[in-house]
């Protein structure tokens, strides 16, 4: 299994765990304090451990980099689309002659939501690309 494929799964799982912890904490400490759970995503800083050299075996090559690059573009595109639609949708739904207000609590949720959308789309794009390319025959 390619290391970047592992990385995608790792990010996906980390995001899923973080979101679950967030959802579990909300009833007890409220949505704002529960956002601290997203600090768990800092564990993503441990990902270089996935790239450590294993004997003569190459762990990352030009194909992995190309796939990661495409996934980054896909993640960004999906994020931007969701962000734009979400913001303009919210504006259209809440607009009341320019006198409506949005809670300040919405702002950190936009950041966390954007991160979730970006990382999920990126992970899915990486997994799909590896699945498509690795579906060839072996030895």
């Amino acid at each position: 299994m390619s290391p970047l494929y592992k990385e995608a799964i790792y990010w996906f799982l980390l995001l899923a765990v973080t979101t679950a912890v967030y959802a579990a904490l909300v009833p007890f400490i409220g949505p704002i304090a529960a956002q601290g759970a997203f600090g768990l995503l800092g564990l993503g800083g441990l990902q270089p451990l996935l790239y450590r050299k294993r004997g003569q075996t190459v762990v990352c090559d030009e194909r992995d980099i190309e796939i990661a690059h495409r996934a980054l573009i896909a993640g960004y595109s999906v994020f931007w689309l969701a962000f734009t639609l979400g913001i303009t949708g919210l504006w259209a739904a809440l607009y009341q002659g320019g006198h409506s207000m949005v809670s300040i609590h919405v702002l950190p949720n936009i950041v966390c939501g954007g991160l979730i959308v970006f990382m999920t789309a990126r992970a899915v794009a990486i997994i799909v690309q590896y699945r498509l390319q690795d579906a060839a025959k072996g030895e």
């Binding site: 390619s2 090559d61 194909r63 690795d134 060839a136 025959k137």
Partner: protein, 71 residues
């Protein structure tokens, strides 16, 4: 659209039935990349194409073929 095919699998077997892992180590890529190239799912960079041809001790065009669109 032009397509590029390759003879990696055939050349590998002609060269002492070299394994995908051995070839991957020789040219500095992962085994998954060899699998993807043999399956026609991935077209390598020019540098990797040269490394492959050197590994088989043949020319680049003996490994890769360029096919103009027949349609």
């Amino acid at each position: 659209m032009p397509t590029i095919t390759n003879q990696i699998r055939r050349l590998r077997f002609e060269r002492w039935e070299m394994t995908q892992q051995k070839l991957a180590e020789l040219i500095g890529v992962t085994r998954q990349t060899i699998i993807a190239m043999e399956g026609g799912k991935y077209t390598p960079s020019l540098a990797l194409a040269f490394r492959l041809s050197r590994a088989f001790d043949v020319g680049v065009e003996d490994v890769f073929r360029w096919h103009e669109d027949s349609q």
